[in-house]
Symmetry: C2
Subunit: 347 residues, 2 copies
Amino acid sequence: MPACRAFLDHHPDASLVLVGSAEVLTQAQGWPRCARVTASQVVAMDDPIEAALRHKRDSSMRVAITQLKSIGGQPPVAQACVSAGNTGALMAVARYVLKTMEGIERPAIAYAMPNQADRTTTVLDLGANVDCTAEHLLQFAVMGAALAAAMQDDEAYEPTVGLLNIGEELIKGGETIRRAGELLRAAQAAGHLNFIGNVEGNDIYKGSSDVVVCDGFVGNVMLKTSEGLATMLTEFIRQEFTRGLPSRLAALVAMPVLKRFKARVDPRRYNGAALLGLRGLVFKSHGSADALAFEHALQRAYDAARHRLLERVHDRIVQTMPSIPAVAQDAAPAAPAASDDPARRVA
Amino acid sequence: MPACRAFLDHHPDASLVLVGSAEVLTQAQGWPRCARVTASQVVAMDDPIEAALRHKRDSSMRVAITQLKSIGGQPPVAQACVSAGNTGALMAVARYVLKTMEGIERPAIAYAMPNQADRTTTVLDLGANVDCTAEHLLQFAVMGAALAAAMQDDEAYEPTVGLLNIGEELIKGGETIRRAGELLRAAQAAGHLNFIGNVEGNDIYKGSSDVVVCDGFVGNVMLKTSEGLATMLTEFIRQEFTRGLPSRLAALVAMPVLKRFKARVDPRRYNGAALLGLRGLVFKSHGSADALAFEHALQRAYDAARHRLLERVHDRIVQTMPSIPAVAQDAAPAAPAASDDPARRVA
């Protein structure tokens, strides 16, 4: 809740729709630009996807996502939705309620990771799809490019896209990766994608391309491995700086520098993964996000809505896949509004 | 060459067979316990695997690997081979010259990574096999357990094995991973493997299991991502400690602590990946290894030979896969010797 309040204070043009239990929502009584929608159920972190879909029709998660739907010709209540809930359930409910965008077979989870060039590398998929075809990877590339472009202020900038593969000295990729490379090169030749070719794991942090495409299994392992390594290194630094009095004194002296370093790689600043390929903007916050982290996720959802991410994904898909029919009128995203209303699930 | 000299000095019970050009080998003239074998060719880092196999029959790489073969009933010249050459070529040549062990369909590359428990996590495969079946993953698990056990001084210790998978909240693994889980549980039930179940990317650095099994694509991405993240974080620390005079002074004060931290995660200390599943012990050093790093690779090869890694892999495979025929007599590894002779390729 403090994150929502801070977000409202920082964005006078935005409004929020808070979704949750009546009890939790009383905290937001009297807030400006803030609507409250009551939901009687909550999807638990360990709820099976089936349970979230079938037995919790009035969950805050589902009600929040429903705010993105245009019902009875009315424009949707909200332009984006942010949830810190169970990722698998969020994807399943969003897919069920919103449906997939025309031309997209599988929605994907995209996350902007810090890189050495002090920009971000948008990586997708991070776990929604375990077995991907070359066509899926192409769709991920198109959606990732739309996201990376939308998050830039420079309208003309065309994000570079890399295909995650393994070292040249070894047997390069499998059949799927090789075919994905062909499709991506074809899209590049047709002028629809700024594909730079294969990249390797270290390129994600080097910032060799704005977007990195991989299947959800590889992406998830990559993300979790990174979290594990960062945790280990941070813990080792802490241990070394508390080993004996001289080290503790050194820590005091070095504190401002260490704090600057910590802030620079603070994962809270990167919180908010996008669920792409749906007929609505859904963002996933880390489950253990604090107020600062959650505000960052709200900020990302706000930026995505403001920069018309939904239309951009749609337009790029239509351009890149000439065979796909145009998206039906009723499914077109609402016209961009000056104000933005990310709905929030309050667990 | 300085690494080889240091290795000989540190191990009075070991001898070396150096393989390389006559010119390079003159540096080792007069060294104790050191034989020299001349090779007229060198496999370049960018040589295609085909070229290394067919057109460079007198490469230092191939000649070094040949030292592991028992020829005409004589015991092999060396018990282990260390090379810093092209990984793909090394695997291909080793496979061609030594052949795969009975019961192993695909050799794998295993690497011991540092973890938060101040032990190591042995991960395989790291890039030799892109498309793996569940059976391959089971074989990797057995070989990895043999390696981890051999590198322990405690003979009775049975290493724990985890199967790399993705978060529970998402769609867990694909068909292959699920089947591999079943095979591993069967091996565990039969008492042949200390399988602890699925692990995730962060568990590698947490040290949740001694061995982590994955296919070569995932393993390679994981390893390279880790390298990239470590490089980025190191660079950020350097930048913050050189940003302005106060930071530079703090760096001076914190230097001993930072050095201790650096030494603790120094990748050179972990140099030396094992090529497992061959009828001979082959180790791969990082291509850009310095003397300290290369000596660590020699040390690992020495330890593997001393702890009878080849026999251990063989025994475990025979135990775990009851259907496989016993390894033919002539392919059995030479009896463990008190002295050890890792052959070295000098590029």
